[in-house]
């Protein structure tokens, strides 16, 4: 059976530090993170400035909850997060659901997702024994779908019809469930034998 990571989980990559988000990370700096359509949808709010009390309420859902973690992404040597991951871990079945937001617009399109997510997959698959990762993606989030589906490791497994309810409007929207097996991730990352 897979196990839960410690609440203090910290991972390092070549360029980034990934560690639990804290109250000190919240504030005006993050207020612009919900100011585009896709980010706002991920946070289940309408596009707007993300008030500090809303940030606090959002991250409170991950505090002291076994199996739930919110991890800040910081460029090495920088004091402030530029985005975060959320993880919902189900050790009993060996599955975790991952979500990701690059909040700081200056860091979008810079390929930090591959570097940082690989650190998380490596840790959860190889150290803690998880067998599968899942991600919930809105169908209109084409950049994310392109990124995740292009190498054929992630696969679209379900389209949940009118599954999500917009907190502001009550409108219901579809959600896609993507899945990636640990073995497929390992195979894709294994060095290829020389021809």
């Amino acid at each position: 059976m897979a196990t839960l990571p410690p609440p203090s989980l910290t991972l390092e990559t070549k360029n980034f530090l990934i560690r639990p988000i804290s109250g000190a990370d919240l504030g005006e700096r993050l207020s612009g993170w919900a100011d585009d359509e896709l980010a706002a949808e991920m946070l289940n709010t309408k596009r707007r400035q993300w008030a500090v009390r809303e940030q606090t309420a959002f991250f409170a859902k991950f505090e002291n909850q076994p199996g739930k973690l919110a991890l800040a992404i910081l460029p090495r040597g920088e004091p402030h997060p530029i985005g975060f991951y959320t993880l919902h871990l189900q050790p009993r079945i060996g599955v975790f659901t991952i979500s990701h937001l690059i909040g700081d617009a200056n860091w979008r399109g810079k390929d930090l997702t591959t570097e940082t997510s690989d650190a998380i997959y490596g840790y959860l698959f190889d150290k803690l024994g998880y067998a599968k990762a899942k991600a919930n993606v809105r169908p209109q989030n084409r950049p994310m779908l392109w990124l995740m589906l292009s190498d054929k490791i992630w696969r679209k497994e379900a389209r949940l019809v009118r599954h999500l309810r917009d907190a502001a409007t009550g409108e219901r929207k579809d959600m896609l469930v993507l899945g990636m097996m640990a073995d497929d991730w390992r195979t894709a990352r294994a060095p290829r034998p020389a021809a």
């Binding site: 067998a131 899942k134 379900a158 599954h163 469930v177």
Partner: protein, 176 residues
């Protein structure tokens, strides 16, 4: 008199199971290899105390366990486990029916609509979700035949109770 909610259909009565209501039938189901195998659950010789603990833990996790009882004889026929996601107004349900004695589809065709109508009205829910392991064929067939939308197949989602390999899970949805 109990204040527990009660849903009545022509033949059945649905009501939340409290610790003092744990039945001999439920105890028997947990040791039934055919039933547990179909549901990908481990066969276990559980005690009444084990199930009472399970009920308390379910309640703590805001999961309601609703019993299906015969209206005439009061016999325990099966159960629903329901978990509400209020933010999105969805409810996820799991189902167990004593298939040694009752036809699953025959029971659920009558109880599903009554339960879902109750949940929609009482809690303002808008969608029901069911995740069914690939080996639970009678339940898959029931959902396919009663208008649930097959929304996808979650590959190798659950470890097999046998300890060897993993099993797919079929996800169904029904909008109210």
């Amino acid at each position: 008199m109990s204040n527990a909610p009660e849903i009545l259909t022509k033949r059945f009565r649905l009501t939340p199971i409290t610790p003092e209501m744990v039945s001999d039938e439920w105890l028997r189901w947990t040791g039934d290899p055919q039933l547990m195998g179909q549901m990908n659950a481990r066969v276990a010789k559980l005690t009444r105390t084990d199930l009472q603990r399970y009920l308390v833990e379910s309640q703590r996790q805001k999961r309601a366990i609703v019993g299906i009882y015969g209206r005439k004889d009061g016999v325990h026929i099966g159960l629903y486990e329901t978990e509400i996601a209020q933010e999105h107004r969805n409810v996820t349900i799991d189902i167990l029916v004593d298939q040694g004695r009752y036809d699953l589809a025959n029971v659920l065709r009558e109880t599903d609509p009554a339960l879902l109508t109750y949940l929609a009205g009482r809690f303002g829910l808008e969608k029901a979700v069911a995740k069914v392991v690939e080996t639970y064929k009678p339940l898959i067939l029931h959902f396919e035949q009663t208008g649930w939308l097959k929304e996808g197949v979650l590959r190798q989602e659950n470890p097999a109770a046998s300890g060897i390999g993993r099993l797919d899970v079929i996800q169904f949805g029904k909008l109210f």
